[in-house]
Symmetry: C2
Subunit: 330 residues, 2 copies
Amino acid sequence: MGNQTVVFDNPPVILSSYSVVGPKEGQGPLGKTFSKVWNDQLNGEKSWEVAESKMLQEAMQGAIDQAGIPKDQIDVMLAGDLLNQLISTNFAARQIALPLIGIYGACSTMALSMAVGSMLIDGGFAENVLVGVSSHHDTAERQFRAPTEQGTQRPMSAQWTVTGAGSVLLGRTGAGPRITSATIGRVIDFEQKDANNMGSAMAPAVADTLVNHFHDLQRKPAEYDMVVSGDLGAVGLALAGEVLKQSGIDMGTKFTDCGVMIFDASQDVHAGASGCGCSSVVFAGEIMQKIKMGELKRVLLVGSGALHSPTSALQGESIPGIGHAVVIEA
Amino acid sequence: MGNQTVVFDNPPVILSSYSVVGPKEGQGPLGKTFSKVWNDQLNGEKSWEVAESKMLQEAMQGAIDQAGIPKDQIDVMLAGDLLNQLISTNFAARQIALPLIGIYGACSTMALSMAVGSMLIDGGFAENVLVGVSSHHDTAERQFRAPTEQGTQRPMSAQWTVTGAGSVLLGRTGAGPRITSATIGRVIDFEQKDANNMGSAMAPAVADTLVNHFHDLQRKPAEYDMVVSGDLGAVGLALAGEVLKQSGIDMGTKFTDCGVMIFDASQDVHAGASGCGCSSVVFAGEIMQKIKMGELKRVLLVGSGALHSPTSALQGESIPGIGHAVVIEA
């Protein structure tokens, strides 16, 4: 690195992508781009947690099947979720039975896992790497906020955790879009303490990573067909644009956010979506399709994570943020 | 990989190591090997969680200072802990201010972070990588078990979570022991459900990783001066030896465990120690000293993680385990 960005000598290929979402996500504007839509949040399982883990397993198995790569040719999986001790990941990995590197980056986990997975391939340590990331609205609500049954009113700055699992299979060789570079972010904290406004807490970290990314590669935002954060929501996206403007970077009109894209105004989600499943399914669905169809040639995905916990919030700590970026090219 | 083990072409160097522990660890048989011993569990902070985060920060800063490498020459940090959403790591990383890759492997986090960090260096993506891992007895007790004040009686198979933070600085060049290979483990579950007997839950995963490691490198246990798990405790260590014997591998007398080494019988910890701080401080302290003094020439460190959560345990799930191994040579 030296700076925060690595450029891959032999850019890893995204051999396949697969996404599974819940009913609300299926009814949203990107509904048709997902590989599979569940009819309800439990899908026949006895708990939301088991359902989330099965959803992640389904997404990862879907990516493996779609690529047609035998499992014994996949060297390692990088995966993560929002649940304490990564239980969705661990129980899914028990079934997938591949060597596991557990990643925690809150909602930035998809971009971070794709970045590290690409390093393992380009570095010569793996031929194929499976990446899988999930979140579930109801497991997140009860872990981070309040019992779902309580019906707590949400402020307008709040984001709605996506029920979804996305997976990509990365390979050293083969056909598909390529991951050409990655920028690993630093923890940035502007002392925002409102857990119902995570977009604002994460915006400065996304801006920091974008500033460093553009500087490291000597590029401008206009050199990307899309710069997409995941997930700042509407409040955080506007704020990140402001912070970048103050750094002398005009993001133009191609700066958007997975949390803004996945739901529409009629779905009553307030500031948009969040949860690491959000950027994983929007990337594995909509964005991958547009890249494959030639509508997008160079995309910058910036995962954004709010690195607090209910304990740290109760203890009065502010919410540190982080942003990790990967460049995907057709 | 192809198999589960990677061998490094240019083995990364362990440039420095630093460990900070609580008072009980300081009074144990390895007390003199730690860089710093705190006089109490809070060390003047307002909560155990803040104390743990400060301890991790102190260990990582200690490793940086000891190596004498300017911080702007460190490309990235890999770090993790046991707390929900890795708050010890995130708040420490906010202060250290280096790009962060958050790792979750339960008690296997030290070995896993050293493995991935070595891949980033040998792969050409980083010149220097900081690794830091912590646990804290009291933060873990209240998160995973029962209020400390309650004084719940512990069964004899239970392990005592270490209060400690260990850090190593890895570099592409320089003097010191080298990390020559790494084996990434799979999730293994023998359907053990007793969260007061995690050693038994993890033993099959450690055995699986060791079997694969010896097979991949065509080595025998006798080719290591020490094979040390972290942390199976006394119950798990004996069980792992049994499982390996059934696979035709006799571990001999050099198979031990960080959780067995760090406390002695008079300290009333029952089956030994656990917590990802345990293997991080035993490695950064005792083991690194013996390697540097020439007493150990080739060590196999096998981090072991129990991948459950209080939620998964309450929902009746068994405890999946994982083992990740790194080889360190003088």
